[in-house]
Amino acid sequence: MADGREEKKQQFSGEVVQVVSFRLGSEEYGVDISQVQEIIRMVEITHVPRAPKFMEGVINLRGQLIPIIDLRTRFGMKRIDATKSTRIIVTEIGNKRVGMVVDSVSEVLNIPIENVEDAPEMIAGVGTEYIQGVGKMDERLIIMLDLTMVISGEEKQALEQVNEAVAT
């Protein structure tokens, strides 16, 4: 288990990690800036029926359909209505584009690589599989996300739904 996390940390290269930081509830998260395509204000999201639960729907970004993930739902947090500060971070991983709904976007941070540590076993309901590491900036703790894991894992989600169905 420890080895796996060690590998994740290794994925950061260079002296500093540049991350776009954003908030979900009281926690601060970060995604590698090279994976961020743009940040847009909340727009109308078209609901896609029968899609996985965390899939909020799709939006029209300059003629392209971008699927939107609600990160709160993805991480099992309480859903909230959009506010003035709600943003969609449009990311690009491989050739897949995905938007993530977050409470607010803070800033771009340069975190020295030595300040990035392995993720503890469990952080506020977010499974470690989504976490690449935790960055420390002064007193702040930035949870750095592994986007590949965030957007994939339909199988896992489907499994959860099956479990739910069995339970009820």
Binding site: E44, T46, H47, V48, P49, R50, A51, P52, M55, V58, I59, N60, R62, G63, Q64, L65, I66, P67, K96, R97, V98, I151, E154
Partner: protein
């Protein structure tokens, strides 16, 4: 490093396209040469064209390190060189060698690209080819003394000599010289026969020709500009192949997306201009403030340029849609060879007449339509056209004719494949259907239903399974592929006179007419080609069968699917009546219950991201004029679910 890899991939994809085009060109040239053998005519330009095509394949393959392809192309090129220099007479046997060489080359190209396993028999073929070439090489050397030592050595012992740069140079020089020679000859001929320019499809008749070239697949040549252009010099050999550039279809799609966005913004600007103008008019009539004197002309300017912008964006949108269209000749080109081979194998004499090769349709459809057409043509040659002797007895010309015709009709393209053969023997089909257990002996079937049997998987009327057809695969593939392209299929047959297959396809799969409906808060699009009618039904007319809602429509029981329930959408609904869209698929009807009809519209289909995954009942999405998204309902899966899911048993529909 990764850059280099990427570039190589790009090169390979270019090579694939180029090789495909050139191999078709080679086919067309070989077919023409075959005619020459029969008619005793000749045209050096055809051999030159063949030579050039092989040479280009060799060069490109060499660049990518596909040595097998390069080697074989080189040897075939040598053989053509002998033909060109008249050191070898054009004969059936030479052509057979060239035809099989061309096929091996195709397989080698596919193997090199990685699509196919490496072909067998290449070595054997090359040995045969070398032996064949060597005979003529020796004769040539004896006759011409030292006139052809380089070329002769290279061909006789290519394994050792191939790599020698001086040989290659000499060879290139020779090629250039011969091309120049051919060009000079060509010009001289062109001067004496000016009409050729206007009719590029016609083979340039040598001055001695007394009658036009007899049965031939002339239109195929029209679609192969390499021969048609009759290039005046060697420099043009590349550009004469196609006056086009290759563009990745994804780039076109992204361009189309951007234009869509432009269209939406244009609408907004027009709106702003209108509002501004109206405000100015109001203000002028009420107060006539000082500022309106300046702003009013500006508002008018804005309105004018908004109108101009509107026109330009519309034109751009149309042009890009047109760019996606390619002539169907791209597919037709490969058929003369196919028909020739099948006819030869089955001992038939067949000419293929192609027309409408220039008819445009969407690239994605062109790519898909080839396979079904191939099966149809095989079937025509094998089952349609009678053997020559039998035809003669029937008072028909020995050579059977298969016509392949394409034309536009409204928003569709029609492709007709017809033959003047024996027609479909309905009794035989029926008997075979009974024997294979597809129908029972006392089933009463209409002619149409009997013909339908042909398209059942596994059906075959052939008594003997041949390598051409008779395995029972083919016609069901045709039906399935045409269905997938949202096409319609029709068969006309008359005993003794022939059969005509008519295929109707939409011009593009990217844009369709759709009926927009509202369910809850969302708009959904239902492809109009599957919509039969829409109507409002009182709840009292909705009955239940096994707990499932159905309505009776003109004596037929139609099951209902409530979209809101199927998609698990919330919302309140009118308890007294329902809005129903009747959709049909292969004779099965389903009523989709929606909240409201919102009219028809032309929509551009976009796939949902694979991050979302496949969703039952949704086939894609579209962006509407106001920028909002509408999901497209997959009628196929909804109808399938309504029936296969046991909503209503099949038995309840028959006989009601």
């Amino acid at each position: 490093m990764s850059d280099e890899l990427f570039n190589r991939e790009e090169f390979i994809s270019y090579f694939r396209d180029e090789a495909e085009e050139l191999l078709q060109q080679i086919d067309a040239d070989l077919l023409k040469l075959e005619e020459f053998v029969q008619t005793g005519e000749t045209d050096p330009e055809i051999i030159n064209s063949l030579f050039r095509a092989l040479h280009t394949v060799k060069g490109s393959a060499g660049m990518l390190g596909f040595t097998d392809v390069q080697g074989l192309a080189h040897k075939l090129e040598n053989l053509c060189d002998l033909l060109r220099k008249d050191r070898m007479p054009l004969s059936e046997s030479v052509l057979e060698i060239l035809f099989s060489g061309r096929d091996l080359l195709t397989e080698l190209v596919e193997a090199a690209i990685g699509d196919q396993p490496s072909p067998t028999g290449v070595q054997e073929y090359i040995v045969k080819l070398d032996k064949f070439t060597a005979i003529y090489e020796q004769t040539a050397q004896v006759i011409e003394g030292h006139a052809a030592p380089q070329a002769g050595d290279a061909a006789a012992a290519p394994e050792q000599k191939e790599a020698s740069p001086s040989d290659a140079e000499a060879f290139e020089a020779e090629v250039q010289r011969l091309l120049a020679e051919a060009a000079a000859q060509k010009e001289a001929q062109a001067a004496s026969a000016p009409a050729d320019v206007a009719q590029p499809a016609a083979v340039v008749p040598p001055p001695s020709a007394t009658e036009p070239v007899a049965p031939k697949a002339a239109p195929a040549a029209a679609a192969a500009p390499g021969t048609a252009g009759a290039s005046p010099n060697a420099e043009q050999k590349r550009s004469s192949i196609h006056q086009t550039i290759r563009v990745d279809i994804e780039r076109l799609d992204s361009l189309l997306n951007l234009v869509g966005e432009l269209v939406i913004n244009r609408t907004r600007i027009s709106d702003i201009a209108n509002t501004l103008e109206r405000l100015m008019a109001d203000k002028a009539s009420t107060a006539g403030g000082a500022s309106s004197g300046i702003i009013a002309p500006l508002a008018k300017d804005l309105a004018d340029s908004a109108a101009l912008l509107a026109r330009t964006t519309n034109e751009i949108q149309e042009s890009i849609m047109k760019v996606r269209m390619v002539p169907i000749g791209q597919v037709f080109d490969r058929f003369p060879r196919l028909v020739r081979d099948v006819a030869k194998a089955r001992g038939k004499e067949v000419q293929l007449v192609i027309s409408g090769a220039e008819t445009d349709l969407d690239k994605t459809i062109v790519d898909e339509v080839g396979e079904p057409l191939m099966h149809l043509l095989r079937n025509n040659v094998d089952h349609g056209i009678e053997p020559p002797d039998e035809r003669e007895k029937l008072g028909k010309p020995r050579i059977g004719t298969i016509s392949l015709n394409a034309y536009h009709e409204g928003n569709q393209i029609i492709i007709e494949v017809s033959d003047d053969g024996g027609g479909i023997n309905l009794e035989k089909v029926r008997a075979r259907g009974i024997k294979q257990g597809l129908i029972s002996a006392d089933d009463r079937l209409s002619d149409r239903e009997i013909i339908e049997l042909i398209f059942t998987p596994g059906f075959s009327t052939a008594d003997v399974v041949s390598d051409v057809s008779g395995r029972g695969v083919g016609m069901d593939v045709v039906k399935r592929n045409i269905g997938r392209l949202k096409g319609i299929f029709d068969v006309d047959t008359s005993p003794g006179a022939g059969t005509r297959f008519t295929i109707k396809l939409p011009l593009t799969l990217a844009i369709i007419q759709a009926l927009l409906v509202r369910v809850g808060e969302e708009l959904y699009a239902i492809p109009l080609d599957s919509v039969i009618e829409s109507q409002r039904v009182e709840m009292v007319d909705v009955r239940t069968v096994h707990g499932n809602e159905v309505i009776t429509l003109r004596g037929q029981v139609v099951p209902l699917v409530r979209i809101a329930e199927f998609f698990e959408l919330g919302g309140q609904r009118d308890p007294d009546k329902v809005m129903i869209v009747i959709v049909g698929l292969q004779g099965r009807q389903v009523g989709l219950v929606v909240d409201q009809f919102e009219g028809e519209q032309e929509i551009v289909i976009k796939p949902l991201s694979d991050v979302v995954g496949r969703i039952a009942g949704i086939s894609g999405a579209t962006i509407l004029g106001n920028g909002s998204i509408s999901l497209i309902i997959d009628v196929h899966s909804l109808v399938g679910e309504a029936y296969a899911g046991g909503k209503v048993a099949r038995a309840e529909f028959s006989g009601v």
